[in-house]
Point group: D2
């Protein structure tokens, strides 16, 4: 399922002395886009959190292609690439709209846990959330 990309401009304080956005900030942009995706998917973070579900980051991988500079507008195109009821994975493209270049590709993996980090099987305990993720995934994990 395709969702509208997440968009904003790069802030001044996100740059470093090379006059480009510091590479660590891209990891923060992935999080912004992920939380935006959850909302578009019908599972806003703050609501699933109230239900006792969290989804800690297990891994992140970023590949840097072209810089983003102060004031550049970028979009993060985020896809739910895997989901098996216990865990999920996302693919990202950070696209620099101002320079018309692909700036970064990325990947992250997450699991579903209770707030004290015990694994959760969504299908059994939260079938509604399961359904929404299942419908959104590009690849059902088989």
């Amino acid at each position: 399922m395709k969702f509208e990309p997440y968009r904003r401009k790069a802030y001044y304080y996100e740059t470093d002395r090379m006059d480009i956005v510091h590479h660590s900030n891209y990891v923060r942009w992935l999080e912004e886009a992920r939380i935006d995706l959850m909302e578009k998917l019908g599972c806003p973070f703050t609501e699933t959190e109230k239900m006792g579900i969290v989804s800690p980051v297990l891994s992140v991988e970023t590949h840097y292609k072209y810089p983003v500079r102060f004031g550049d507008e970028f979009e993060v195109r985020c896809t739910l690439s895997k989901f098996n009821g216990c865990a999920f994975e996302l693919d990202y493209e950070i696209y620099n709209i101002t320079s018309d270049k692909l700036s970064c590709t990325a990947h992250s993996s997450h699991c579903f846990t209770t707030s004290d980090l015990k694994p959760i099987r969504l299908k059994k305990h939260f079938p509604d959330i399961y359904e929404k993720f299942f419908d959104a995934v590009e690849d059902d994990g088989n």
Copy 2:
């Protein structure tokens, strides 16, 4: 009472596109120095927190003189300038050791509260902590 200043070098990711440390990071350095002072004072943050005492930031004021650059060593000279048992104030100088220049002067104010932000009178409830702050203050608030 004088304490050893807090020292470290400026990190790469703390710089911005002007090739200087971004001014917001100085506010973080003040916090590093404040937590270091609490420890030197005999009231480590994590211990007072376990006793149920927190000290939220009420205000911060920073005056920027000369930049700090990547790799520069700096020290934060931190003084407890006021303390009245319910609240305290700190004065700071951020000194750039590498360039031998005063980089920033600053001031912050704080109160003592429970973790749900109710005011605490240290003298009554935590006389030991009261004593340590009282001994350390340069000006007793009168």
Copy 3:
């Protein structure tokens, strides 16, 4: 002159272990709002920078009232309170729209310089910019 406030939501990574936005991030929000104001004022940062004008931060003062939490929408109401052709000052209110509370009041001061930090008199060298700031100021500095 009144400008539309700057608005966005607080990001997850801007929070700290107290479950509130870390106070240092407010200083970054002031910068976001300031750059937004420059654009609304007709003097976009990147354009004045190309003309050789920068406006370093001389001081910042923040007073914290009520917290902003993850996902809260806030606005920064920014006013040009002083301007004399060489320097300017801004007043800010950070208003938490979600909790309907004033979260922070702030003040910053800046000067106009060349990129190698020599003072600039706008009236003489950049009368167009001077005009725009002059029209926007609430108090003309007298």
Copy 4:
């Protein structure tokens, strides 16, 4: 070649509302450790930069195991795992000394370029730097 790990404590402002260090900050710690390694290797960042050599980040990969919390002491064990004269790769372990647990494993890749991002062959143009990297690598890339 083994180098002393890079050590420090986690700062308060590095935590998030889960009461753990935000995962994006690990990427910054890798940079701190990398710059420290360059110095131990005899190629301090600021010196190679003066020679016109920079080493942009091409990719970063992080795997999160156990959290680091405010005040925890951690070390970053950094190894030069590949080097071919044009590019290099590093492996990292972030070890939480306070909790005695491996917190994160990571990997980054970099190339050598001029400051305007043209590729550099170290062996030809900077044989001294080449030598130092060659001696330090655990695997010479063949």
